[in-house]
């Protein structure tokens, strides 16, 4: 393990588990930036005018799609069949017959590359402000554990693998109030992808399993699981980003997706639609912002 250099903000940002949970209440109020944050070279992005989603795209999240147009996490390898995907419904959400929430989204990035994606997913969890500038209206903060921080900052770990096994502790509003979401990033094989075909189709990937609970947690609060997959494909005109969420699922110790809703319980439609809308908004912002910040800061995790 590499030795922390506490003179650098990337290391100095470390908080304990207890402190981060306490801080999340403050983070959820989205306080004004501190003087130290304002001095960071990327602070200016916090004050960007945030681009609004394409109205036609956003409108596709108004009403649920027919569940027969969705697929289940056991069939995750459908994401390797591009011809099939192009014939299918690529933008929408619904509650599946088994009660799980399903979200699909697709967006083309004309100016982004797989290297930018990998850099971003390693770069942004190192400080709260890095996460906040992604989507300032709804991203409140982020934290890593000390061991995960060391992995991210270890130059011996390839950029696209840095998040494998790492947990991002984010504080985020997915249109249903602020939640603490612990996102356990995984490698694609542990998500169930067929690795004999994966690299032929997928340019890069970020995904895992999240557990979300309200920041203002009480004794009866539900901690909700979800599977999340972001897959990126090179195609004419840029990089295609496809997203899938399966809410109500977890991945068990055998690396199998498992529905863990009580019988006859469904994920509330408002929660599914909220995450779907949030997804469109945050990645609309990302589409425009990632090439700019990568041009300025990309290539290093320190700044």
């Amino acid at each position: 393990m590499i030795t922390p250099d506490l003179s650098k903000p990337e290391w100095a940002a470390q908080k304990t588990y207890t402190q981060n949970r306490l801080d999340s209440v403050i983070k959820a109020m989205r306080p004004e930036l501190t003087e130290a944050e304002k001095a960071r070279p990327f602070a200016k992005y916090y004050y960007d005018e945030i681009p609004q989603p394409d109205p036609a795209h956003y409108a596709k999240m108004d009403d649920p799609i027919d569940p027969s147009e969705a697929f289940y996490p056991e069939d995750i390898n459908r994401l390797l069949d591009v011809d099939w995907l192009r014939q299918s419904t690529e933008i929408g959400w619904c509650v599946l017959p088994n009660g799980a929430g399903y979200i699909c989204n697709s967006i083309l990035y004309p100016e982004s590359t797989p290297e930018m994606i990998d850099w971003w997913f390693a770069w942004h969890p190192l400080e709260d402000l890095r996460y906040r500038i992604w989507y300032p209206p709804q991203h409140a903060g982020i934290m890593l554990s000390p061991i995960d921080r060391a992995r991210i900052l270890d130059p011996g770990v390839p950029m696209k693998e840095k998040n494998w096994g790492v947990v991002h502790y984010v504080t985020e509003n997915c249109d249903c109030g602020y939640e603490n979401i612990d996102i356990n990033f995984r490698n694609p094989a542990d998500m169930g992808f067929d690795m004999t075909r994966f690299d032929d189709v997928i340019a890069t990937f970020a995904g895992g399993m999240g557990w979300a609970v309200a920041v203002q947690k009480c004794d009866d609060s539900i901690t909700a699981p979800a599977l999340m997959v972001h897959v990126f494909y090179k195609e004419e005109g840029g990089l295609r980003h496809r997203t899938r969420f399966w809410m109500g699922y977890r991945i068990n110790e055998q690396n199998k997706p498992e529905l863990c809703l009580p019988p006859h319980v469904s994920v509330p439609a408002a929660a599914v639609q909220g995450l779907a809308r949030h997804n469109v908004k945050e990645y609309t912002r990302w589409r425009e912002f990632l090439p700019r910040i990568y041009k300025e800061l990309g290539g290093s995790l320190y700044c």
């Binding site: 947990v167 557990w211 529905l259």
Partner: protein
């Protein structure tokens, strides 16, 4: 088995240990067999002895310093657990209602966990001399390790694994005598246990993110575990609150298990 429900209990007031063990094995166990619902396997662990905290503690610092039994209910998936705890068409299952007759339920410690077996240097030979459970040894030790509050759960598991490997490497008698090790990691589905806590009238129960089970041939070899524990607690890695951790020596009783004997 993908998931299990573990309840660590003490006996209700007025019962002797012998009465408690007799009741849970012969009456409650029978109730569970009659109302099996979706239970795949049900193991009772009757506590023979145990220790809470460390010798360095002046007083007990954990909320619980007496445990008499640990039950482990195994299910194929989480929904099967729910379907068994709250079976459809049954207002109050006999098993649910029976607990109050033997357990001090409000002091229960619940842990919904997933198991991973670790390799050991010297697993028990195929020949079973009749010391206990086929293939694993006659005495089981269950070690409930409290995570330090400040430590992230994902780091806690990684640090424990490093500390475990080093402690085992430093404990030759443990390497020789420990026949099997199973790690039970708490699942986040356990976060949604408000109904169970309300049912048992549990107030702010302690949460254990992991417990580890060890098997040795008989209680004569339990010193092997003690050698390992001494090395583990001397680990330089800061991940556990040893004062709130505890271990139990238990006798396992199979209530429901369809698996054929391994020996």
């Amino acid at each position: 088995m993908p998931i299990k429900l573990t309840a660590v209990s003490r006996r209700r007031p007025g019962l002797t240990r012998a009465e408690y063990f007799r009741y849970i094995e012969h009456y409650h166990g029978t109730v569970a067999r009659l109302e099996r619902f979706k239970i795949d396997k049900y193991i009772q662990n009757h506590v023979i002895d145990g220790a809470f905290g460390t010798l360095a503690d002046d007083d007990h610092q954990n909320k619980i310093a007496d445990r008499d039994g640990v039950v482990e209910l195994y299910f194929s998936e989480f929904r099967d657990m729910l379907a068994t705890l709250e079976p459809e068409g049954v207002t109050t299952s006999r098993a649910n209602q029976d607990g109050r007759f033997f357990a001090n339920e409000r002091t229960n410690v619940l842990c919904m966990a997933e198991e991973t077996e670790l390799p050991v240097a010297n697993p028990r030979p195929k020949f079973n001399p009749g010391l206990g459970e086929p293939g694993v040894g006659g005495l089981k030790v269950m070690y409930f390790i409290m995570r330090k509050d400040d430590v992230y759960p994902n780091d806690y598991y990684k640090l424990w694994q490093k500390a475990h490997d080093e402690a085992m490497a430093a404990s030759p008698y443990a390497q020789e005598q420990i026949r099997k090790i199973v790690v039970s990691k708490r699942s986040r589905v356990n976060d949604n246990d408000a109904a169970a806590r309300a049912h048992f009238k549990m107030v702010d129960p302690p949460v254990y993110d992991m417990f580890v089970s060890f098997w040795v041939d008989s209680i004569e070899q339990v010193g092997a575990f003690r050698q390992y524990v001494a090395a583990l607690q001397e680990s330089p890695y800061e991940f556990a609150d040893w004062s709130q951790s505890f271990y139990l020596y238990v006798r396992t009783v199979r209530i429901i298990d369809d698996a054929p004997p391994k020996d």
